[in-house]
Amino acid sequence: MTEHLAALQVVIPLICAPLCMLVRYRDWSWIVALFGSWSCLVISWLLLQQVMTGGIISYHMGDWAPPLGIEYRVDTVNAFVLLIVSAIGAVVTPYARESVRAEFGVNRVYLFYTSYMLCFCGLLGVTITGDAFNLFVFLEISSLSSYVLIAMGKDRRALTAAYQYLVLGTIGATFIVIGIGLLFAETGTLNMADLAERLADKPLSRTIGAAFGFLVVGISLKLALFPLHLWLPNAYTYAPSVVSAFLAATATKVAVYVLLRFLFTIFDVKLSFGVMPLDSILLVLAVIAMFAASAVAIFQPNLKRMLAYSSVAQIGYMILGISFANVNGVAAGILHLFNHALMKGGMFLALGCFFYRIASVNLDDMAGIGRRMPWTMAAFVVGGLGLIGVPLTVGFISKWYLVLGAFERGWWFAAALVLLCSLLAVVYIWRVVEVAYLKPAPENAPDIEDAPPSMLIPTWILIGASIYYGINTDLTVGAAKLAAQQLLGAG
């Protein structure tokens, strides 16, 4: 079966989704989802091992040879992203059981798992496919199901948030499909490897330039690059806790991967960063994202919204790394994909634990929570240290390589800005620490226990991993560097 792993990676969640719908009794659909997400983790781990030792895997769907048939193509870059997505899925699903039961009507639990599996399937599909149009189809699967997931939030504003995301996400998807269409018109192929080959032979025409523009803007909308991030804060704030954690840790990461794929594999680096002035555009936008979003995060009373703005800032770091267009910079971007998924996923899960106990994630309601829910709060703080970039956390590793990349490029000011921006993270994390630990709990506060173990353990797995991979960087840095070399070498 090992030769079919690439197909099974997408097929298993695709089959689990309708199964979740058929077995309506809530725990059964949860078990199906659990099976789906865990087997995907195993598959993605095996795929990464195969790729690191044996090179690129190419799987021909229906045995139709590429470039005509759809090809699934796994190299180090997407094997790593597959591992991120499926690992987050595997951690979030066990957590979901309690949290979803508390936040959804009992009747709607199976609908959650169905959409969740579809979203999971779409994200994995976007990552694994080697066909540009197939990528668009999977992008739509994941986006449509994430609109549904967000709309399931308890707060009625979830509906408008989902609608806003739907409108902007559809505009982004349209831009992407227009870009792919223009490339198809110019080259007559949709296979990514074939596209890259044919584009390399062609002089820059207006069609290719327009395709490049549409694709970059469309993907930037999906990954919430400043100033196209407006859908993100509302969507993450009003979505159910599990959904915020899952989407924050995976959806934007997959979009960053798509950007990497188009900029480096399909278009030439010389086109992306030489002919087109994309490096300075991305640099400016990334820096504004880092500072503006961090500054806004400081003033948010709602912690979910604070983390959402912080996500916009962290996406800025990833894009900053990509804008350096050298091995260290791109490796830092890819590394931060992984690291940020761990930290932010863990922190959103911690917020979900608070919501489970006190039904609020407003800063005002969290006075003294550090003593009432010590384990959850500790997880939140450790994740926050990672966001700041304290040594021995993953955040430090990302920033270290980011600074190396900046020096290699000769943009020392960018390195200074990265460090300066960390100070803003200190401010917004400290606000929470101050309220949670230093303020006394209100007199009439009900006695609460810490979150149940089925929620606390997944939270701590992610937070623990963010420490582990801050100390032992063999896997992450190794894979990220190899991926960056492949991306830049291919260009």
């Binding site: 079966m1 079919h4 089959i15 309708p18 719908m21 799987y59 769907m61 609908l111």
Partner: protein
Amino acid sequence: MYSYLVLRVVAKLLMPFIMLFGLYVQFHGDFGPGGGFQAGVIFAAGFILYALIFGLQNASRVLPRGILRFGIALGVLLYAGVGVYNLLVGGKYLDYNVMAQNAVHGQHLGILLVELGVGITVTSVMVMVFFTFARHRQTKGDDQDGGSRPL
């Protein structure tokens, strides 16, 4: 609408032809224009016409929500299941060549089943969307919960 005799008679007359045409588009899709998606829409249009003329109550007696929900899932499972069957008998995912004694038969059978899956899901989803909106409209006012009724 129930009292308009002409509409009722015409709708009843049209119904078998709509269904027959749906079947034709469904199973002729591998030779000519058509296929599961188009056929599914035609089938669903038939049911929606029935619901418009004879009321939502009668229509949901013909196609209860449980069956629709089952249909939505079944179609996807059929599609994905064909692919898995191909894996099990030694081909690539969705490689229909291995499904029968020779490649031509295999391709034929494979696309027929896959399109059938598409047809079932599209019909069920279309009718479900219509029922959901129609019922929402009927119960508006006393339904404080808005559109959050479960499927």
